[in-house]
């Protein structure tokens, strides 16, 4: 570059302002699974991310699949036909999921990533690049999302800069129910209704204990009082509906009776089934 020539280095802001990304745990599971199953000579796994863009600009990453690739020192080659085949197959099931970006394992962004980012930006206007650090290099597993921004000098395109965007792990309720199971390496049996209740109530109890301790600490003066928290606690406690004891008792007893009635009904149904079955198969035709 000539020294006297002063051109301004421009950062083109992305056309559609992508504020943040949300990722579902299924995607992380998929990526880890593909990483564990990768062919021996590959160091990392590359794949496509599927999802949708929400109206407020957040990208919702819902599904993913791996794409076979070959990598050497200078170049990276992706199996494009495989990528298209899988995309068509996935869209047969769920036509609303479109490509929103791509992922790769390993910390940070490497040189070859820019080429792949370029390829994906031909499919989608602003692809998201997700890196999942399976090597735990920082001592923890980090998942980062990047958006590429073009750096141009005057009219010439210089390079693409990867900017990190905030990433959020979101979970649907049904997934949260099974989350305990998903954390451990082996679970012997799925918890049934009552065991799940026990766990939830235990957690609620722990929460209440924490709040209690906090209030105690504030009263004793060990912890400085925070007015906002105090207000929240007061609101929560006040939100318990105020019912006079007889009214509450009546309400509770009515509900209890309803449940008992249903239990009785189902037991009667089962007895009826036992009887019917005996009559049906035991009848002899003379």
């Amino acid at each position: 570059m000539a020294a006297g020539d002063r051109t301004v280095l421009q950062f083109n802001s992305p056309s559609s302002a992508i504020l943040s990304a949300k990722v579902h745990p299924l995607v992380i599971f998929n990526i880890c699974d593909c990483y564990v199953r990768r062919p021996d000579q590959a160091e990392r796994v590359i794949g496509t991310l599927l999802g949708s863009v929400l109206p407020d600009g957040t990208v919702d990453i819902r599904n993913s699949y791996a794409v076979p690739h070959t990598e050497s020192a200078e170049q990276v080659a992706l199996d494009i036909e495989y990528h298209h085949n899988m995309l068509v197959s996935h869209q047969k099931v769920n036509p609303k999921e479109v490509i929103v970006g791509w992922y790769s394992t390993g910390l940070g962004v490497t040189g070859g990533s820019a080429l792949i980012q370029d390829f994906y930006s031909r499919e989608v206007p602003n692809p998201i690049h997700l890196t999942v650090d399976t090597g735990f290099r920082n001592g923890e597993g980090t998942v980062k999302a990047f958006v590429s921004v073009n750096l141009s000098l005057g009219d010439r395109q210089l390079a693409a800069q990867f900017q990190e965007i905030p990433l959020d792990l979101c979970m649907v309720e049904a997934e949260r129910v099974g989350f305990d199971i998903l954390k451990k390496t082996a679970v012997d049996k799925l918890p049934n209704d009552l065991e799940g209740m026990e766990v939830t109530m235990g957690r609620l109890l722990a929460l209440i204990d924490d709040v209690y301790k906090y209030v105690d600490d504030v009263v004793e003066g060990r912890v400085p009082a925070d007015n906002n928290i105090g207000r929240f606690i007061a609101e929560t406690v006040a939100s318990l509906p105020k019912l006079s004891p007889p009214a509450f008792d009546k309400l509770m007893n009515d509900s209890l009776q309803d449940q008992l009635l249903l239990l009785y009904l189902s037991s009667i149904a089962r007895t009826q089934l036992g009887l019917a079955e005996k009559l049906n198969t035991a009848a002899q035709i003379l």
Partner: protein
């Protein structure tokens, strides 16, 4: 020497490997998440998908799965469906996923999955695969806070009976088969690779506030219970219809037998008269007479399936009622304090 060797080889070839019975189904967390996601997205429509994995000894490992697209019309989609399956299996093979079919999964509403179609699909799968399993996921029940995942298999004695397509009372008594024996439920174990569990433990928010899943503590389970009881009533109606069919059958059978006896009496007196007159006695049977036509016994398959469903609903009602008791007592103690 040669003959003894040949015999030993023959012996080896003749002793079949006894297949150890299936004791447990080991599912990976990935598969569970995929099933949950697929079923929930399309609920209340019912969806199906294929399970892939390995069959090892007495454990059936399910390591991956893929969903089936929803069939709109049945015209050209037959070939499309088969193509889709082959394509998916081929693509998954390239990324080293086990592409060995071990069964299928389907979603259900409130546990009403015992239908004849399920049995037929099982028979279709059983012809090609030695051991297959069906996983049933109930998204409506999962909203109550339970992971409603079940692994089912048809019992062997039931399969033999179904192939013979013979569900008369005698056969069933022979095999000692009742409605509980149609489906066998297999316990599920969940396994995860160490990498995934490390990630999940890492990514889970540390504060217990976010950990607490409040949905389970909801007091309003009325809509769910109402639908359960509604389905129960419908099934009871079906069951009583089946009972009526049996009653009708027995009544007509006994009526037919009475007719047969009467006709036989008449024939006998006629023969006696003919013998007295010196003529040939007529045969004591007359297969062309319609009263000798055997009435087919109605199949008990439907009633068994309906009975299974009713039992399922009852179980579900019990479960939710138990949960409700817990919640009510919790409310009571909160209020007292």
């Amino acid at each position: 020497m040669a003959s003894s060797m040949a015999r030993s080889f023959l012996q080896v070839a003749a002793t079949e490997e006894v297949a150890s019975p299936l004791r447990v189904v080991q599912i990976e967390g990935l598969v569970i998440l995929k099933i949950i996601k697929h079923c929930k997205e399309f609920s209340p429509a019912l969806v199906t998908g294929q399970l892939l994995g390995l069959d090892v000894g007495s454990v059936l490992e399910v390591t991956n799965c893929f969903p089936f697209p929803i069939r709109e019309e049945d015209e050209e989609i037959e070939a499309d469906g088969a193509n889709y399956q082959l394509e998916m299996m081929r693509c998954l093979r390239e990324v080293n996923v086990d592409n060995n079919t071990v069964g299928w999964y389907q979603s259900t509403i409130l546990g009403s999955y015992q239908t004849v179609e399920l049995i037929e699909t099982f028979m279709n799968y059983q012809e090609n695969i030695r051991r297959c399993v069906c996983i049933i996921y109930d998204p409506s029940r999962s909203n109550q806070g339970v992971l409603a995942l079940k692994a089912l298999k048809l019992s062997d004695s039931f399969m033999e009976l179904y192939r013979a397509n013979n569900f008369t009372g005698e056969k069933l008594r022979e095999k000692n088969l009742s409605w509980v024996d149609i489906f066998e439920e297999i316990p599920i174990q969940v396994s995860n690779s160490a990498l995934i569990s490390a990630f999940m433990t890492e990514l889970e928010s540390d504060t217990p506030v976010k950990q607490c899943d409040y949905d389970r503590l909801q007091l309003s389970t009325k809509p769910y219970m109402e639908r359960n009881v509604e389905f129960l009533i419908e099934c009871m109606d079906d069951l009583s219809m089946e009972q009526q069919k049996f009653q009708f059958y027995y009544r007509s059978l006994s009526r037919q037998q009475a007719q047969q006896q009467a006709w036989l009496q008449k024939r006998r007196t006629e023969n006696m008269a003919r013998k007295a007159a010196g003529e040939e006695p007529l045969p004591e049977e007359d297969p062309s007479n319609p009263i000798f036509k055997p009435i087919p016994e109605p199949s008990r398959l439907e009633s068994f399936l309906v009975t299974n469903q009713i039992a399922n609903y009852c179980n579900q009602i019990n479960g939710v009622a138990g949960q409700n008791f817990n919640r009510l007592y919790l409310m009571k103690s909160l209020h007292d304090n």
